[in-house]
Symmetry: C2
Subunit: 385 residues, 2 copies
C-alpha cells in the first residue's frame, strides 16, 4: 500500500481536489480515465494520449483475458510493458462485460459462467480469478468482481446482487491479500504495488447503497467505486444516488464513479464528491461522428456542415479544432476515412480532459460552483440543429 | 512559372539531388510522396505526416471530384485550405483510377467516359476537364490526363494510347495556358502558381517511349512524369524502361516515376535519374499488417510474433519502433484495433521517407552506390520467415 496514497488538497463545497499516488505516477483528481479496452484507446495512439495529457487509462479485463490472454501479457512483463504505456492503468474486473452478455452467461454463487463472444468457449469468472487476472495484468488499480443488475430491476434482485457482490468482494480481497503476502506460483504478479478497489452496489435504493457501503468498507480496500449507475436511469436519479452514497465513503480515499458519463455528469458528480470517472462515451461517440462541444453534441455528418469553415468547437484548443473545419471532418466521415475517427476522438477526449483540468483549477480557487453554472448555461445534451 | 523552379544540386552517377520550389514550399529531391487519396493519408493525421517530415502529399482527382466535389473544395479555398495541409500537394489527373474501372469506362477521342464507383452516375473526363478540376483543387503540381494501358498489352494498342495521350497532353496544356492567361469565370483557380506535368507513355517499348518523350516535351511542361509502369511487369523491365526514358527528359526538370514502388525500386530508379515517387504500397500494406523493414516485409499477424518483444525493425528510429513490440502490434491487428493500422502506417512511411533522406545525403557525399549495395545486401522482397 505504500506506493498507493491519496492526498486531499482542497475542497469546494462537495467537490474535492486531490492527488493520487500510484506505482506508475501521480494522478491529479478529479480525473477522467479514457477507456483503452484492449490495450489501446480506439482510433488514437499513446502519443496522442500523452499530448492530451491523459493521466491514466482503463483496460478491460474481460477483453484482455480472452485475447491475447493474461498469461501472455504477464510473460511480456505486464500490461504496461506489453502496450508500451508508462502511466497509471486501472483495470475493471470483467464483471460488467460478462453481465452484458445476457443469455450467454449464468450467475452462480462461486462466480459468473459465460461464453466468449469471440468463439463461444465456456469460462468461469470467480472473484479470485478476476483478482488473479488483474495481478497478471499488473494494473495500478484493480477492481473486485461484482454483480451488476439493471438499475430498473425490482428491489429484491438488486438487494441479492448487492449482498452477493459484498460476499464476492470479501473473497476478492482475501485472494488479493494472499497474493500480496504469500504469492502463488501460478500467478505471475507484474505490479506488486497494485491497489484494489471495492465496489458499492444497491441500484437506486438509498438503504441498499448504505448497506453496501457498510459491508464493503468493513472488508477494507485502498478505495471505493460506485457501480451500477449510468446504466439507463435518468440523470437526476444518478445524481441522487451519488449524492447519497459518496459522502458515506471514507473521506481519505478516492471515490470512483464507474462508467459515467455525459459532460454535465462530470460537473454534477464532482459536486457530490466523486474523484474519478471513466466512460466510453467520448471515444465511442467520436467514432460515430458525434463531437462533444461546450454547447452540446454536434453530429458532424449533418449536411449543414458540408461547407462550414468553423472548427467543431470554436472555443476549443485541441489539435483538431486548431487545424480542421467541420467541412473537412464531415468529408472524412462521409468518405469513410479512419482519420475522421482519430480527429474526433482527439477532440472529444480533449474536451473531457480539459473540462477536468478546469474543474480541478476551479476547486482550488473556490470557483467550482461558478464554473458549474457557466457550463450548464451553454451546454445542452440535445444535438445541435 | 516563377513559383515553380527546380535546381539540380548534385549528381552521383545517374542519381540526382535537387530542390524543387513550389507555391507551398520547397521539396528536397529525390522525394517520396505519401498518397492522401481523399485529402487524408489513410489511418494517420497531418500531425503524423509533419512529424515524419513528409514534404509533399498526393491527392486523387478522381476521388475528390466525386466526393466532396472540386466545386465545393474551390469554394472552401482549394485543397490546401480544405484539408488544412500547408505543404505542397500533387494531384493526379484521375486517368489511372478511371482506367482501373475496367468495364465501367469507355475511352473516346474526346475523353474517358465512366460510371462512378459510388453511385453509377455517368461522367466524361476530358483533358480539359481534368485540368479544370485540378485548377479548382489548387494543387501545386497538376498532371495531364493520359490513357493508361496494361503494360502486357500488344504493341499496337500501347502505341495508340501513347499517341492519344500526346494529343490529350496538348489539349490539357492549351487549357492550362488559357486558364493562366485569360481565366474562365466557370473555373475558380485556387493556386495561380500551379505547375503542370506531362506524362510519358509507351509501355515497355523503347521506341514508343522515345517517341512519347519527343511528342510530350515538344508541347512543353514544367516537368515530366513516366507513367504506365509498376503495373505488373517484372522489376527488371521497369528499370530498363526507366533507364531508357529518364535520360531523354530535360535535365533541368524533375522526373517523376508514377506509382512506384517497393523500397528497392526507389534505389534502382534514383540510380536511373528519377527525382519523385509516389506509391500506395507503404500505406496500403500497413493497413493489411505488412510492415516494410530494412530486411524485407514482416507479416505482423504471423503467430511467431505473438510474444516477440522486438520492435518491427530494431534498426528503425520511427515512433512505432521506438515504443512498441511486434507482440503488441500483432495483438492490435488480431483484435482489429485501428491503432494497429496507424502505428504500421507511421512505420512504413518513416521507412520510405527515411530511405529517401539517406539517399539524398548519399548523393551529396558521392556514396549513393555504396548505400544502394548495402541496401540490396539486407533487403529481400520475400516476407520474413
Amino acid at each position: 500500500m505504500s506506493s498507493f496514497q491519496f492526498t486531499l488538497l482542497a475542497t469546494d463545497g462537495g467537490a474535492r481536489r486531490g492527488e493520487l499516488r500510484t506505482p506508475h505516477g501521480v494522478i491529479q483528481t478529479p480525473a477522467f480515465m479514457p477507456v483503452g479496452t484492449r490495450g489501446a484507446v480506439k482510433a488514437i495512439t499513446h502519443r496522442d494520449l500523452i499530448d492530451l495529457d491523459a493521466q491514466i487509462i482503463l483496460g478491460n479485463t474481460y477483453h484482455l483475458y480472452l485475447k491475447p490472454g493474461d498469461d501472455l501479457i504477464a510473460r511480456m512483463g505486464g500490461l504496461h510493458a506489453f502496450i508500451g504505456w508508462n502511466r497509471p492503468i486501472l483495470t475493471d474486473s470483467g464483471g460488467y462485460q460478462v453481465f452484458s452478455l445476457a443469455s450467454m452467461r449464468k450467475i452462480r454463487e462461486d462466480g459468473a459462467e459465460f461464453r466468449s463472444h469471440l468463439d463461444g468457449s465456456l469460462h468461469l469468472l470467480t472473484p479470485e480469478k478476476a483478482t488473479d487476472i488483474q495481478a497478471r495484468l499488473g494494473s495500478d488499480i484493480a477492481m473486485v468482481l461484482d454483480e451488476c443488475v439493471a438499475s430498473t430491476s425490482e428491489k429484491e434482485p438488486v438487494r441479492e446482487a448487492m449482498l452477493r457482490s459484498a460476499r464476492w468482494a470479501a473473497r476478492a480481497r482475501a485472494r488479493w491479500c494472499q497474493l500480496r503476502d504469500h504469492g502463488d506460483p501460478a500467478v505471475r504478479v507484474t505490479n506488486p504495488g497494485q491497489a484494489q478497489f471495492g465496489i458499492i452496489q444497491g441500484g437506486v435504493h438509498p438503504d441498499l447503497r448504505t448497506e453496501s457501503v457498510q459491508r464493503t468498507t468493513e472488508i477494507g480496500f485502498e478505495a471505493y467505486a460506485i457501480g451500477g449507475l449510468s446504466v439507463g436511469e435518468p440523470p437526476e436519479v444518478t445524481y441522487e444516488v451519488v449524492g447519497h452514497t459518496a459522502p458515506q465513503l471514507p473521506e481519505d480515499r478516492p471515490r470512483y464513479l464507474m462508467g459515467a458519463g455525459m459532460p454535465d455528469d462530470l460537473f454534477e458528480c464532482v459536486a457530490r464528491g466523486i474523484d474519478m470517472f471513466d466512460c466510453v462515451l467520448p471515444t465511442r461517440n467520436a467514432r460515430n461522428g458525434q463531437l462533444l462541444t461546450s454547447t452540446g453534441p454536434l453530429v458532424i455528418k449533418n449536411a449543414r456542415y458540408a461547407e462550414d469553415p468553423l472548427p467543431p468547437d470554436p472555443g476549443c484548443g485541441c489539435y483538431t479544432c486548431r487545424h480542421f473545419s467541420r467541412a473537412y471532418l464531415r468529408h472524412l466521415y462521409i468518405a469513410g476515412e479512419m482519420t475522421g475517427a482519430t480527429l474526433a476522438t482527439i477532440h472529444n477526449l480533449y474536451f473531457y480532459l480539459d473540462t477536468m483540468r478546469r474543474i480541478r483549477e476551479a476547486i482550488v480557487f473556490g470557483s467550482f460552483e461558478r464554473l458549474r453554472q457557466e457550463f450548464h448555461q451553454t451546454f445542452s445534451r440535445r444535438p445541435q440543429q
